[in-house]
Amino acid sequence: MSNIAGKSYAMTVITPIPKIWAWVNLLKFWYSKNIRKKKSFGLQTLSLIHYARWVIIRPSQFPRLSSNQPKEDLHYAYMLFFSNFNGSWSQYVDSFHMAIPKGLDRIWKHNFKYPKSVPLQPFHRYILHNQIWTDHYYNAYPLASSNDVKAAIALRAALLEFIKQSENMSPEEFQKAYKAFLFYNQQHIAKMHSAPVINLADQAKVERVRLIESYEKTLRDEHGKPNF
């Protein structure tokens, strides 16, 4: 059981919100998604984040395994916050707190006992108190951060296009075009490897070594030659 898989951390936070404010938040979420359509630049510029999502769960929406399961008597609606990111818990929470404190307050301000995002320590305690630990976490690309995945997608598309375009070029044309290709894609080129140790727990360290070894195996074929 860990919130960490490869370079990623999964955070789930469930916070109670008075029912009336839950409706207000639902309206606000709907408005910003469908009418305002303003991109949240701050959130998107925090490149350690894969995504962040806020969902309102009304008391009537809580799942029951069967109709025999008694309904819970809930006094609050709940706001579910779910995010995957690269880096440590405190790097993430602190980045949020420093970069977009007002945005956080807008979303959370009607939640029960929300302390506001500044100062930091009460905000830390609020998130930690309401965080649900991850039981199972699958990561398809454990050695890639969200930036790595985005860069790889962009580079792959550009490279395939370049291969197509360059098929019939003379060596001179190719050299010129290749230089230009490198220049236009330089922000997507880097060398990927394992994440730094986020956690000194022995289990996390063993898992990290296993990932590095399995990744290095993929770089060579059975004869030890580079495998691309």
């Binding site: 370079k7 630049f41 510029t45 970069a99 230089k179 330089q186 922000q187």
Partner: protein, 513 residues
């Protein structure tokens, strides 16, 4: 906003002054162990009158030598601090640097097993002392005074041996000194870079207000001017004052123990001079501009200190450096000279990366862009964050220290030469460890995947460093197979108490209840 008032008389002087830049080019670092609580307390009580505070020297005559002390977790334990107090210290401090090796990337030739012998035992080092001096004579004089005080303890406080100098490995202290050229101390280290140009500037530090440029936190103003920067909050560097999150930093109890204190990282970093020169010479054969340009791209500054952002060519950088040196000499003699010197100083610090978002001047992965991003983590997205320094204002460290050793044979990596590096801040984990782990030995925050700091990264010979190109005919250049240029040879985490706190420890007055 009025400047934060801080009690400089109660704060140890090394926190607010980088002595090397105040005319103290010689230093000696000494480590002690307490074998008896009373003897330990008596020793530090005796030391009190020698301890240099942060009191400004404009009011009185600067001393010929300074003395500062700091304690490890084990040291505080052996001075009899209550358990409740000991448990209130942060985890990384009580663990100590060796136990944090996986986080710091101290592996391979930087592993604790390779460090100087003094670091080999666990729970061994209790107290750190630094002596900085104007001359070797002043250093010896102060050192002798300390030895006399030590003798009073009748062996119940011992000075620990085990520093290497190339010939011996049982020296009783670590010597350090600015590198002298023609009899004059220089601000360079053994690779030839000018070092320590932008140090954080915080409220109440009493430093030259011009140091806020490049040393404070970025505003949205012009980075070449005072309007482009604001002093950082005191609490980033000294406990007991508000920090950048508008609260008092987490600190050990009782309050009087931590008030005016801070934490310090000590690291002995060996510089592999031959490896460095071989590498820049080899790569420089293919890189336009040659070895000197490769060295500049790795650091983000030319070795003479001129930043690449403002001085993209070597000619411009050299012309500037000459003018700067001339102005520095004239500054002492005339008011006009001083004004010119101050103007030129801003050209070394007054910049950010706003006009170089793609890194065509200063590479995205260059050392100065990593260690002090100057707001570049907004990636040019206007007003993305509440403040441009949102992701870096809480990651700044005061850098202290001096080079050690001499390069007697530039054709060899052996021998003892490098930098004694010290980092000061109120949270070792959030500031030093974060920068070391995420920004020096990793690159995701800069969208550079696993690319490491070319100069300081713990390379294994497989890493590459990309120098971004500037146009379609000038593509990026890949520096391949970077070797490790800098290895760790020792280090520990220390608590630097204020003067009142030292007195309280000496008098056994610490009560956290």
């Amino acid at each position: 906003m009025p400047d934060q008032h801080i009690d400089l008389n109660d704060i140890q002087g090394n926190i607010v002054k980088a002595y090397g830049r105040f005319g103290y080019p010689k230093a000696r670092y000494i480590f002690f162990q307490f074998h008896d609580v009373e003897a330990g307390r008596n020793f530090i009580r005796d030391l009190l009158p020698l301890i240099t505070t942060g009191r400004p020297w404009c009011k009185d005559q600067p001393p010929s030598a300074t003395t500062n002390i700091a304690f490890t977790y084990q040291g505080l334990k052996h001075l009899g601090l209550p358990t409740k107090t000991l448990h209130s210290f942060p985890e990384e401090f009580s663990m100590g640097m060796k136990a944090r090796a996986d986080i710091l990337g101290d592996d391979g030739e930087s592993s604790p097993t390779e460090w100087d012998p003094i670091w080999h035992h666990d729970k061994y080092i209790h107290m750190f002392m630094s002596i900085n001096a104007k001359s070797l004579e002043a250093l010896e004089e102060r050192y002798k005074k300390i030895q006399d005080l030590l003798k009073k303890s009748s062996g119940l406080v011992t000075q620990l041996r085990g520093h290497r100098d190339g010939q011996r490995d049982d020296l009783p202290y670590q010597e350090a000194s600015a590198i002298f050229v023609d009899g004059k101390p220089t601000p360079t280290e053994h690779f030839g870079y000018q070092d320590g140009i932008s140090d954080p500037y915080f409220k109440g530090s009493g430093g030259n207000p011009l140091n806020v440029v490049g040393g404070g936190k970025p505003t949205r103003g012009d980075p070449a001017t005072l309007q482009g920067w604001e002093p950082l909050e005191t609490g980033e560097f000294i406990l007991g004052y508000p920090d950048e999150t508008k609260e008092l930093p987490i600190a050990p109890v009782p309050t009087l123990l931590s008030f005016n204190g801070t934490f310090m990282v000590y690291r002995k970093l060996h510089e592999k001079v031959k490896t460095f020169h071989d590498y820049i010479n080899n790569v420089g054969k293919d890189f336009p501009g040659g070895p000197e340009a490769v060295a500049a791209k790795m650091a983000g500054r030319w070795r003479n200190g001129a930043p690449l952002v403002l001085f993209p060519t070597r000619e411009e950088a050299n012309a500037f450096a000459q003018e700067y040196e001339k102005a520095r000499e004239l500054a002492a003699t005339s008011a006009k000279g001083k004004k010119r010197y101050e103007e030129l100083r801003l050209k070394r610090t007054g910049f950010n990366f706003g006009n170089d978002l793609a890194g065509s001047r200063c590479p995205m992965g260059a050392h100065i862009r990593r260690a002090n991003p100057r707001g570049c983590l907004e990636f040019g997205i206007k007003d993305a964050f509440a403040t441009p320094g949102a992701l870096d204002n809480r990651r700044r460290i005061l850098r202290r220290g001096l080079p050690y050793g001499e390069v007697t044979n530039p054709l060899s990596d052996d021998g003892e030469h490098g930098v004694i590096f010290m980092a000061i801040g109120t949270s070792i984990e959030r500031q030093f460890e974060f920068v070391q782990q995420q920004w020096i030995n990793y690159g995701n925050d800069f969208k550079l995947s696993n690319q490491k700091d070319p100069l300081l990264g713990n390379h294994d010979g497989k890493d590459m460093f990309m120098i971004e190109g500037g146009s379609p005919d000038n593509p990026p250049f890949f520096c391949p197979e970077i070797p490790r240029f800098v290895t760790t040879r020792g280090g520990e985490y220390f608590f630097v108490p204020g003067l009142t706190a030292i007195r309280m420890i000496a008098d056994n007055l610490i009560d956290p209840t």
